[in-house]
Amino acid sequence: MVALTAAVANLKGGVGKSTTTVMLADGLSYFYGMNVLVIDLDPQANSSQMLLTEEGVQAALDQGKGAHHLLASFVDGAAPSAAPYILPNAVTLEELRLAEAQDRRLGWISSLPAHPQLRLRELSLEEEWYGKSGTPTTLASALSDYFREAFLPLLPLYDIILMDCPPHLSPLARAGLALADAFITPTIADSVSTWGTKQFSEWVSRFIATDLASRHFVLVARFRDTRYARQIASDLREIYLKDRWFGPSIPESVHVLNAMDRAAMDSYNTMRGKYSGVTGDVRRLAERFSDFMTQRTGVTWQKVRD
């Protein structure tokens, strides 16, 4: 199987892009035994912190791993290759770690982490590029070509690549979006998020993927199960984005926040221990995304755990 790439993206910040990325990575590796690569293109590095801890994010940078170094290789004119910058182990689930230790791997997560330095490196590249009469569009295009070539040899090694994109349209973010086979857009059931999600959807349809509707998986998170929140979510489904594939509603809860706070780099938890009361939501998210991808590709994903 050759990996498909899904960009987790929305121009609205704070809608749960990083949380969705990690929940989906855990869900697909655990329930479907998938080999997942998480690429973090957001300099806030939230999904990287969730998988590796803050110390791990810094350690990765110091060891020459991460998107920061891949971008540096572009700046240096090096041959495109992403493999040297990937951390092969970003697993936090005890079941996956144990299976690996017993030489019967069923599902795994690797990471190309981000770091706050990523944005500084990109800014420096932008200044240089624009100084030579380049434009944001030509830079995004050059980066996209470079990344496509850099990741090509890795596609047979993974089942799915999840790309956590930043809430802006910098050249790096646009390059990432241009590589995506599918787009996952988390949003929140409130009016400003609905507006931002609609704008993002229109921008991507116009400049990145004219067939976005058929490749778009939308997730609505709810802080509270109020009539207002249900109405907003319903409007999104029925009016603004009615031709999209919608995933299950994701609860924003203390369980989710706790699940995303890894205690230490050597800390592991069971699926049930990590997600507690939202374990079923992680399973439903993985199942629904699997249905979406099956509908897109015709390939059915087999579950390995219930």
Binding site: L61, N258, N269, G273
Partner: protein, 127 residues
């Protein structure tokens, strides 16, 4: 609207402090915060110790001996609770560890978290 009983200023203040005393007895965390706000230092015992002890605040002081004296006197079940309540360990992490190992884990993980959150990722040497 009925008028309340006429009380002297001292009576009102007594009522206020009575309520505060009740809350402080029932809520060691609030007690610890209030004492800290007054610049004092308080030593809690038994159940209250587990409730009030903040491993991050103690680790931030950087005094390993004091940290170990506070948490080293706790029962193993209490240390496990502190580790889990503060998101410093999972059930998997603490399984099979003795009291000393758990206190060491508590100190190293709390110190690391404090250090991560106090540090900057934009240092001069991080170009």
């Amino acid at each position: 609207m009925a008028e309340g009983p006429r009380l002297s200023a001292v009576d009102y203040i007594d009522r206020f402090f009575d309520e505060l005393r009740v809350e402080i007895r029932a809520n060691p965390k609030l007690a610890a915060r209030l004492v800290r706000a007054l610049g004092g230092n308080v030593v809690f015992e038994n159940e209250a110790k587990t409730e009030a002890a903040n491993p991050y605040a103690l680790a931030a002081e950087g005094d390993s001996v004091r940290f170990h004296s506070v948490f080293g006197s706790m029962k193993i079940t209490e240390i496990r609770r502190v580790l889990r309540d503060n998101n410093l360990a999972t059930r998997v992490d603490i399984a099979g560890k003795n009291q000393q190992q758990l206190v060491d884990m508590l100190y190293s993980r709390a110190s690391r978290k404090v250090s991560e959150r106090k540090g900057t990722l934009f240092g001069a040497d991080r170009t």
